[in-house]
Symmetry: C2
Subunit: 219 residues, 2 copies
Amino acid sequence: MVNIQQGTEEKILSAAKTVFHRKGYEGARMQEIADEAGINKALLHYYFRSKERLFEAVFSDAFTQLMGQAKEIFFSEKPLNDKIQSFLTHYLDVITENSYIPWFILNGMYERPGQMKTIFEQSEINPLQLMEHLRAQIRKEYHSDVNPLHVWLNILSLCIFPVVAKPLIREIFQLPEEVYQQILDQRKTEVPRFIANALKAYENPEENIHNESSREENS
Amino acid sequence: MVNIQQGTEEKILSAAKTVFHRKGYEGARMQEIADEAGINKALLHYYFRSKERLFEAVFSDAFTQLMGQAKEIFFSEKPLNDKIQSFLTHYLDVITENSYIPWFILNGMYERPGQMKTIFEQSEINPLQLMEHLRAQIRKEYHSDVNPLHVWLNILSLCIFPVVAKPLIREIFQLPEEVYQQILDQRKTEVPRFIANALKAYENPEENIHNESSREENS
DNA sequence: ATAAGGTTTAACCGATTGGTCAAAATTATA
DNA sequence: TATAATTTTGACCAATCGGTTAAACCTTAT
């Protein structure tokens, strides 16, 4: 009984993931999800009560899949260069299987902002601890007091944006899928190198508003 | 007659922009656009025939507004550092008035990929020329043969992603609107500096697949 | 064999949606 | 002033949508 029950529920989640990932909450149709799962539409409500709850289940899974391992990577003791390369490798592996995941997560923040809050509360990410860890690492490896939030934003930007913007960039440059994939593969080494070079030459910025507003610590 | 006609059409475009920017194609309602414009819903079809055509008109305007001046900036003879700062200043000014524009454009590529093609064909962007211009400039200013597409992707990533991901980052870090705005303002100088530092120390990558696949030119 | 519980289904519902239309109102022209 | 052209409107349409329900079916327990 348990096996059969989990079978249907997991089929629904897998189908919902496929449809929500490509079309977002508003664009997804419950009938399409049911068709994808090979079941009657009423079963969607039997197991998940509503479209919204089904979406939240899918979003939570996606966020965990993308950011869960990122936490381990960034809290490890590896050099920053290695961390970035590990994160990019992990991230691009996730993207290979779920190419819509970054757009899906960003889109979820726009379509259902209120509902996403509880998912982050459950994600156990401690951003301030992450910033402190990053700050200490930058000091040790690059002798710089740069605001770690900017560095972290730069790392995320360089890793995630080229994937999210893939349809746009491919259209502008008329690039085939496999050429763009090669470019993304190259970035596994390009991005860590770019960041390492930037940090090597970094000078302390004149002011540091993030520190002023969130944590009183200065050295 | 002409004045009155343009008045209604422009009211529709302004209202459509407001609604499409926030809710995307699927989430926007024609009745809501009509309400926003203060007119009867049938007029939307009288002037634009369909929801899709109205969306395309709005998308085209948005793309021109965001990337039109970027072309001038990047084809100018200014130093690269100044170009990036100008682009960021322009970009953040556009964002101040239309905060959803970057997401709207990226999202448009996912929601209506087919329809966006004609808009790029009309945009008169010559990406290969832009890449050559950038390559020459990097050689002259930084004595590097780095693939300009990577540099350009890096510039776009660092400029655009923090705006697109604003809801996500603010949620993760629990940042108030004005604190995040200050962070974005800081990036007007942080990003050009980060890029300049990275380029100063750049070493030529071992392989260069973009060149292999699109242009046979090597030095 | 029967009962209970869980799963599944076809049919249905009310609400919403993009789009249409004939007529009225307004504006422009002769 | 009369007519033509354009703009605007209220009413309406068919299709779609998320969700519900009673009944049938299947599995498990007694």
